[in-house]
C-alpha cells in the first residue's frame, strides 16, 4: 500500500540553524514526491517537487530510493519559514492522479 510517513509532529529550531524535515514513503512503483507548505492563515501550496531538482526559498529535497526517503533541508532557517510542511506522494490511476499526504510537521523557527 502507498504510504507517506512524517515522524515528527513538531520541529523547533533557532534562526540560522539547519533544518531537516523527514519524510519516508512506501510505494511499489516509480515514486513522484512533493513538499507542500501551509503558512499561517494561507492555503496549502506546492513548495517543491523531486522531478524539478530545484531549490525554493533555500529548501532542497533529494529522493533517496534506497532509503525510500525525501527529506526537506535548509542550511539556515529563517523565522518566515515557520509553517506546516506536508510531504506527498503522487499515485497515478490511468490519466488522473491523487496525492497521498503525510501527517505533516510543524516547523517553528525561534528568533
Amino acid at each position: 500500500a502507498q504510504r507517506v510517513t512524517q515522524p515528527e509532529k513538531l520541529l523547533s529550531v533557532f534562526k540560522g540553524a539547519p533544518v531537516e524535515l523527514k519524510c519516508n514513503y512506501s510505494y511499489s512503483g516509480s515514486p513522484e514526491l512533493f513538499w507542500y507548505v501551509q503558512y499561517s492563515r494561507q492555503r496549502l501550496q506546492l513548495l517543491l517537487r523531486h522531478i524539478s531538482r530545484e531549490s525554493i526559498k533555500g529548501f532542497t529535497a533529494d529522493l533517496n530510493k534506497g532509503e525510500t526517503s525525501f527529506h526537506l533541508k535548509k542550511p539556515f532557517a529563517q523565522e518566515e519559514d515557520s509553517a506546516m510542511y506536508y510531504c506527498a506522494l503522487r499515485f497515478y490511476g490511468g490519466a488522473t492522479n491523487k496525492l497521498i499526504f503525510g501527517t505533516g510537521t510543524l516547523l517553528a523557527v525561534q528568533p
Binding site: 507517506v4 512524517q6 509532529k9 492555503r43 496549502l44 501550496q45 506546492l46 517537487r49 522531478i51 524539478s52 506536508y86 506527498a88 490511476g93 490511468g94 490519466a95 488522473t96 492522479n97 491523487k98 496525492l99 497521498i100 499526504f101 503525510g102 501527517t103 505533516g104
Partner: protein, 114 residues
C-alpha cells in the same frame, strides 16, 4: 485569477443531515479533486472528477458523492452526517494536460458536525 475558490467558508450541521460543498477551479483547469483533512492529520483523498465523471476514489463510503459541471466547477455531497465527518474539506484543481499536472488548493470549507 482568484485561484481555486470554495464555498461556504464554514458550516455547522447536526448528525444525520446532508451537506453540499462547492468548488470553482482555477481558470484553465479541468480536473477537480476533493480531500478531507481531519484535525492534526494530512489531507486524505476523497475523489477526483474529470470530464464530469468520477475518475478515482479514495477509501470513503458512498455517503460521499460528487459532481462536476460543464464549467468544471464541482460539488461534494455528504449524506447522513456523522460526528467523524467534522473536518476541513479541501478542493484542488489541475489541468490534466499541464506540465507536471500540479494541483492547486483552495482555502477549504470547515465542516463541524454536532
Amino acid at each position: 485569477d482568484a485561484g481555486v475558490t470554495q464555498s461556504p467558508t464554514h458550516l455547522i450541521k447536526t448528525r444525520g443531515q446532508q451537506v453540499t460543498l462547492r468548488c470553482s477551479p482555477k481558470s484553465g483547469h479541468d480536473t477537480v479533486s476533493w480531500y478531507q483533512q481531519a484535525l492534526g492529520q494530512g489531507p486524505q483523498f476523497i475523489f477526483q472528477y474529470y470530464e464530469e465523471e468520477e475518475r478515482q476514489r479514495g477509501n470513503f463510503p458512498d455517503r460521499f458523492s460528487g459532481h462536476q459541471f460543464p464549467n468544471y466547477s464541482s460539488e461534494l455531497n455528504v449524506n447522513a452526517l456523522l460526528l467523524g465527518d467534522s473536518a476541513l474539506y479541501l478542493c484542488a484543481s489541475s489541468f490534466i494536460g499541464g506540465a507536471g499536472n500540479e494541483q492547486f488548493f483552495g482555502p477549504g470549507t470547515r465542516l463541524t458536525v454536532l
